[in-house]
């Protein structure tokens, strides 16, 4: 698949993945753009059966890079329209969502990345290990610690109980 076709067909999914990872629309654009620029340089050499994994790994590398922990090296080029728009949930639901995201945002990046790959991308631990350059056991440790940290928090425990009681 040509680079242009790949970006046109997979761009939305990549941006969704980056947005779930970093929880910021502008940073998501930045992560995806930078990852794609790096992939573009070696597009012909990437095994095309593994394009998604390769690009996802490039996005993860950008996300986990210490140089980008606080601010982006280069802002995204151009303003992309936001597809999601304002949420239509009630104020209470927005409050619960914000609580969830505040807690997720407080997780160490690797723990958060593991949870996103496992629960958003539905990847098995072995594949997550390949993307993060670590062992499957390390993935399980990150996941267990991240989940434990979320569960311990009263705000999210309350939110889970609401879901359970519904």
């Amino acid at each position: 698949m040509e680079f242009d076709d790949y970006v046109l067909t997979r761009g939305d999914a990549l941006l969704r993945f980056a947005h779930v990872l970093c929880n910021d629309a502008q940073r998501a654009e930045d992560l995806v753009q930078e990852a794609l620029v790096r992939c573009h340089r070696r597009w012909r050499r990437i095994e095309h059966g593994g394009l998604d994994a390769y690009v996802r790994k490039a996005i993860l590398r950008q996300y986990l890079s210490w140089r980008r922990r606080r601010s982006a090296e280069e802002g995204p080029a151009g303003d992309l329209p936001c597809a999601g728009g304002a949420p239509d949930q009630g104020i209470e639901a927005i409050g619960e969502r914000d609580a969830m995201w505040r807690l997720l945002a407080g997780l160490p990046r690797r723990q958060r990345a593991v949870l996103v790959l496992r629960y958003y991308e539905d990847l098995p631990d072995a594949e997550i290990a390949g993307l993060l350059n670590c062992s499957a056991a390390t993935v399980r440790v990150h996941a267990a610690r991240g989940l434990a940290r979320l569960r311990r928090h009263p705000e999210l425990t309350g939110r889970a109980e609401v879901v359970e009681d519904a």
């Binding site: 573009h40 210490w66 922990r69 629960y119």
Partner: protein, 222 residues
């Protein structure tokens, strides 16, 4: 969670939260154009950077051969290609302070399209051992250490400059050719150590000229 069955509910809530966030992501309209524009900007930047680096390497090689060796013919290892991270256009170091001293030292360099990154938060003695490049016949080690360029023992040392960074080069008492350079932070210096039949002084200086040093989190991450 109030029951054992809450595990699945908890995970479902997590999935739902991720899905919802995914739906709020920016749309990809204009993404391709933005990527290609960014690529063009970076290419222009790299071309300009490469020209400067080439000029620095050439100047370093000529000056090094003439000044540092005092007119002696270049050694057998002169002209060795830069190994590993030293082949990068730029090697970025970041000193994150803690209690007046660096508490963490970060290294970043892009080699062959891949980014090499190291973060050292535990010094070994007075040195942060950042990177060792192993090439056939020699190794080059890059450390950040506490101390002063003048205070480190070197045999037959000379004053040198790598780019705009002053320093000294000489033989370590324990063996190896050592280049010490100021970092711009008092009491903290860079050390390149070449062991084996490795690069000459000119190569060491040219490679060291690629190193940029930032201090403090704001400077490092901007």
């Amino acid at each position: 969670m109030s029951t054992g069955g809450g595990e699945a509910e908890f995970e479902a809530a997590l999935r739902e939260a991720f899905e919802r966030r995914g739906r709020e992501a920016p749309a990809a309209a204009g993404l391709l154009e933005a990527v290609l524009a960014r690529r063009r900007r970076q290419t222009r930047h790299r071309v300009a950077g490469a020209a400067v680096a080439t000029a620095l390497v050439a100047a370093g090689t000529l000056l090094g051969a003439q000044l540092l060796r005092g007119g002696e013919p270049a050694g057998p290892a002169a002209g060795v290609p830069a190994p590993g991270i030293f082949a990068a256009e730029e090697i970025e170091l970041c000193l994150l302070p803690g209690g007046g001293d660096p508490a963490e030292v970060l290294l970043s360099a892009e080699v062959g399209g891949e980014e090499v990154q190291t973060a050292i938060s535990e010094p070994a003695g007075d040195a942060f051992r950042l990177h060792v490049e192993r090439a056939p016949g020699y190794t080059v080690r890059l450390d950040v250490l506490r101390g002063s360029v003048a205070g480190e023992p070197l045999d037959g040392a000379r004053d040198v400059r790598a780019g705009d960074r002053p320093g000294r080069i000489g033989d370590a008492p324990g063996g190896g050719r050592v280049l010490l350079l100021e970092t711009g932070t008092e009491g903290v210096l860079l050390r390149l150590t070449a062991e084996g039949t490795g690069p000459g002084d000119a190569e060491l200086l040219a490679w060291a000229a690629k190193i940029t040093v930032s201090t403090g989190r704001d400077a490092c991450e901007s």
